[in-house]
């Protein structure tokens, strides 16, 4: 019984810390997004609140809370309030299965630095991601505004389309690992055997789908200002709008953590054995937490980098890319991975498959160009 309560307390602490880190990262992502945008556009960016504008998220939060909380007259009141809440809830739930670190032993009791280690870990992530669209759809419909509704419908069809390719990218990871548990997926990748080397194509597919699932540029059509005013959050103001924006940043951070877990070895880092020998396994585990957070933040930076570099897709281009581009590629990737496992050389076959694909695309491109000229 005593063991049970101590495990319970440890898990409660881990969940609380993960919650705090997620919210903190999301808050400061808004600041760094503006700073990075400013850097890329040769501007200064926010610099008034505190040194280097470091208190800007705080000022933004105060502004969001102080604004008038407006509910449109003919909207569905309860669903209008429920929309941002569901967005926030689904964004935060994913982090439960991400393994943030290896085992830590305190007073002879070992804890995994992970919310829950269930044997369906990656399916949990997939399930919650597929629920993420409800917040947007409910909010968009309840606003009783045709632009908001169009944004909601776009979000729904976009998420459903890209989930298929994402699921097939995950299947290849499962083929290599042989387990659904996120903990085991990370343990297989220890000592530099990161999945990115065995799954370069799978990673490309996954990161594109992650952009689409997070509604980030170049796939942010649900909130496309040039066509839909503000998209699904046109009618939202005050902290309800803040929750929608916040949920997007949380999704970015968590999807970065999931990508680090699936493809970049999770909490693995070079020199883990040296740190373990010198300072003990607990310190090594905590450095691992730092490594995972660093990888996730690097992905958050990639999200921002792409946002301020690439223009938005057109909607038919988005659907074409999803259905006729990514899904066949993901199927090809499944076949290549299966071949690699059968031949016992996953690394060689994956690289050969990627080179073959690029060569085939190049040849196809040459042929079609000649046809156009003739």
């Amino acid at each position: 019984m005593e063991l049970l309560t101590s495990v319970f307390i440890a898990k409660a602490i881990i969940v609380g810390v993960v919650f705090a880190i997620t919210l903190g990262v999301a808050a400061y992502s808004t600041y760094f997004e503006r700073k990075i945008a400013a850097f890329m556009q040769d501007r200064v960016g926010p610099d008034r609140a505190g040194p280097f504008g470091i208190l800007q998220p705080l000022a933004d939060a105060v502004k969001m809370f102080m604004k008038e909380d407006f509910i449109p007259a003919n909207s569905n009141k309860w669903l209008f309030i429920a929309g941002p809440c569901i967005s926030m809830l689904t964004a935060l739930m994913t982090s439960a299965v991400v393994p943030f670190g290896d085992t830590v032993t305190i007073d002879g009791v070992s804890f995994d630095l992970q919310g829950i280690d269930v044997n369906i870990g990656i399916l949990w992530v997939f399930g919650i991601v597929s629920l993420g669209v409800y917040g947007i759809m409910i909010g968009g419909w309840a606003s009783n505004n045709k632009f908001a509704l169009l944004g909601a419908i776009r979000a729904a069809s976009q998420n459903i389309s890209y989930e298929l390719a994402m699921g097939m990218a995950i299947i290849t990871i499962l083929m290599i690992t042989g387990s659904l548990s996120t903990k085991e997926i990370v343990e297989v990748q220890q000592n530099g055997h990161w999945n990115i080397f065995y799954q370069p194509l799978g990673f490309i597919i996954f990161i594109i789908c992650a952009f689409a699932e997070c509604n980030r540029t170049p796939f942010d059509l649900p909130e496309c200002e040039t066509e839909l005013i503000g998209g699904y959050h046109t009618e939202y103001s005050s902290m309800k709008l803040g929750f929608y924006l916040f949920a997007e940043y949380i999704n970015m951070f968590i999807s970065g953590a999931v990508m680090a877990t699936l493809y970049f070895g999770g909490y693995d880092y070079p020199g883990i054995d040296f740190v373990t020998q010198q300072f003990g396994s607990n310190v090594a585990s905590f450095v691992g937490v730092g490594a995972l957070l660093g990888k996730s933040l690097a992905f958050v930076f990639v999200f921002m980098w792409v946002r301020w570099t690439i223009p938005r897709f057109r909607y038919d281009q988005l659907m074409n890319l999803g259905w006729t581009g990514l899904i066949p590629l993901a199927m090809y990737n499944v076949v290549i991975t299966g071949l690699g496992i059968l031949l016992g050389k996953p690394f060689m076959v994956s690289v050969a498959g990627l080179i073959l694909l690029i060569a085939a695309l190049f040849v196809y491109d040459q042929l079609t160009v000649k046809k156009k000229i003739a």
């Binding site: 569905n76 669903l79 269930v118 044997n119 369906i120 399916l123 949990w124 997939f126 399930g127 597929s130 629920l131 669209v133 409800y134 759809m137 409910i138 419909w141 509704l149 909601a152 419908i153 729904a156 069809s157 998420n159 459903i160 989930e163 659904l180």
Partner: protein, 171 residues
């Protein structure tokens, strides 16, 4: 807290939300209550230690099928498409049919003692994904593959139905 109390609570919640699906006036509310019902059923799967079924239930039903339902219903103009009230004869006929079905069902349950699960054969790991995979790809391989062919045929049919014929009006 006893596990049976959780079960009673969950079952009550499931029945209540399932009732709300048919009692709510607004179709959007109905869909959302149905999603909630699926969550309750998933929670039942967790109580049965069938985590894989729980995840698949959420992904397939709540995450894909109900999103499409919501998608379609949102495109209707709900104010124009309210169904007209049924006549009292229809209501009477419906009540009689439903009542007789209830009597028959109660009679079946009372006449036949339904055997409970054999406790000595119970294995708490049955619902785990490894064991489920062994059963599906070993013992029941042929039915499983037949189901996948059935799905494939349904998919081809759906694509064929959705395809625009040459010369058909383009909306």
């Amino acid at each position: 807290m006893e596990i049976s109390n959780i079960w009673y609570f969950l079952s009550a919640l499931t029945l209540l939300s399932a009732l709300m699906v048919i009692l709510s006036k607004n179709p959007i509310h109905s869909v959302l209550y149905l999603v909630f019902t699926f969550f309750c059923i998933s929670a039942h799967y967790v109580l049965l230690n069938a985590q894989f079924l729980m995840a698949v239930n959420i992904i397939v039903y709540a995450g894909a099928i109900m999103v499409l339902f919501l998608f379609v219903i949102m495109m209707f103009d709900l104010k124009k498409n309210t169904p007209e009230a049924k006549s009292s004869m229809t209501k009477l006929a419906g009540s009689i049919v439903a009542g007789s079905l209830l009597v028959v069902l109660i009679a079946i349950v009372r006449k036949n003692a339904i055997p409970g699960p054999a406790l000595e054969k119970f294995n708490s790991q049955t619902g785990m994904v490894e064991n489920l995979g062994q059963v599906l790809y070993g013992e029941f391989l042929l039915p499983f593959e037949l189901v996948s062919i059935l799905f494939f045929v349904a998919m081809v049919g759906a694509v064929l139905l959705g395809k625009r014929e040459a010369g058909e009006r383009n909306f």
